[in-house]
């Protein structure tokens, strides 16, 4: 670089008068350490400005001395102990140079911009509150719908399970009924109730017994029908017919090892140990 040109450009004078930006100030200081000629010229200029400043010297009021010493002491006792300098002191520019800050025009612009920013952010706040409320309501509605949907879905699941159970039961029954080892025994109404009719299915190997009521009078509330297997003339308990809707259902009864005939009597609820013969409704031989 051309040092003479640099020196005569006036930039060093601007530096001494504090009219350069922070970056320009740093530039001058860097070049001053690099080039002794610049350093010497700069010292001369700084010296002149010092003298110029000193020309304005005014003796301060005598009372100021104590105020100043007091102020330093106060700050010193409150801050020196912690060794923690106040921010703006600690960051005072390296060599006491004044770093230009934007002046009032820019400040006014900045403060106007700030006002707009505040206004804009207030409007945004109100808008976002309104939106929050709107979405909160929507969310509440959706939540209700979701609960209803979940309940419905739960009901469907239960229904499906019930149907599934019924289906697998029916399949088992179908397998049983179509099995060659399953005997179908028709129990016909005796003289007490000639219209009655019941069908018993008995699997010879598994000993499973199923019963289908084709026609039986509705039992009184305190009584139940009970199935008996007759082995060598002796009646053996084969279980009671449960359920409210007795007809049109296949009832799974107790296993029966041996039987020559089946009969049904009306017994007190829970069944009896031996049949009440007067209350016999149907009977059928194998």
């Amino acid at each position: 670089m051309n040092i003479e040109e640099y020196i005569s450009s006036g930039v060093l004078e601007l530096y001494a008068a504090g009219a350069l930006s922070a970056a320009e100030t740093a530039d001058v200081e860097r070049l001053a350490t690099q080039y002794p000629e610049i350093r010497a010229e700069l010292d001369l200029i700084l010296n002149t400005m010092d003298e110029y400043a000193a020309l304005h010297a005014v003796n301060p009021p005598a009372t100021l001395k104590n105020k100043v010493l007091q102020a330093v002491k106060q700050h010193g006792s409150s801050q020196l102990h912690t060794n923690n300098l106040p921010k703006d002191f600690a960051e005072a520019p390296d060599n006491g140079r004044i770093i230009p800050i934007n002046r009032s025009a820019n400040q006014a612009a900045a403060s106007a911009a700030f006002k707009w920013l505040v206004a804009a952010s207030l409007i945004l706040l109100i808008l976002s509150n309104a939106l929050s409320f709107y979405f909160y309501q929507k969310w509440q509605n959706s939540d209700e719908s979701l609960q209803i949907a979940l309940n419905t879905q739960r009901q469907y699941a239960q229904n499906y399970q019930r149907v599934q159970q019924q289906l697998s039961l029916n399949q088992q029954v179908l397998v049983l009924l179509s099995d060659a080892n399953t005997l179908r025994i028709e129990l016909k109404g005796v003289e007490k109730s000639p219209e009655s009719k019941v069908t018993v299915y008995w699997h010879r190997l598994t000993k499973d017994v199923y019963l289908n009521v084709n026609n039986l009078p509705e039992p009184p509330a305190n009584k139940q029908y009970q199935l008996w297997a007759l082995v060598d003339g002796k009646p053996l308990d084969a279980g009671v017919v449960n359920g409210s809707d007795v007809a049109n259902q296949l009832h799974h009864m107790k296993d029966v090892q041996q039987a020559q005939a089946f009969a049904i009597t009306l017994e007190p609820k829970g069944g009896s140990i031996s049949p009440t013969l007067e209350e016999m409704y149907v009977m059928g031989k194998i």
Binding site: G10, L14, A17, A19, T48, A57, P60, L64, D94, G96
Partner: protein, 182 residues
Amino acid sequence: MSRHENIAFSEEDLIQRLQQREDAALTLLYERYSAALYGVILRIVKTEEVAEDVMQETFVKIWFSIGQYNKEKGRLFTWLVNIARHAAIDKIRSKEFRVGLKNKPIQDSPVNQLHSSYEVRPEHIGIKDMVGKLNPDQKKIIDMMYFDGYTQSEVAEELDIPLGTVKTRARAAIKFLTKLLS
């Protein structure tokens, strides 16, 4: 080079004692530099009341940042004056100051107080006369930058002159001052 160097203790001594936080050194610093610093501050803030506040702030700043003073970059006096200018210019730009100024009646405005409060020191009269020889345009540029904190581009804008002219006028002014003061 400077009047200050005739005093019995050296500048380096003073700096060292300040950096060691010696109370007596602060008193010496005050005695040696208060008039120069107070004058610069008063020139900027215009009223003694505010100048006293800024003076206190200035010495607190000096006390806390003396560790950052680097003699490679310039003399102690330059550094001290810059801190005082910085504090005073910050003050006149502060909102508090500007609001206070607006509320004051016109006859109380700083310009009217100036002369009465200056304690004119006879040995300065000759020098002030010499400065009076400065071209007013040149003096204005120097004062705007040095005392009012204008940047070069703000000066150019304010006076409606090109940046290059700001530089040449500043250089001419300081050249002339150097001649006057040497």
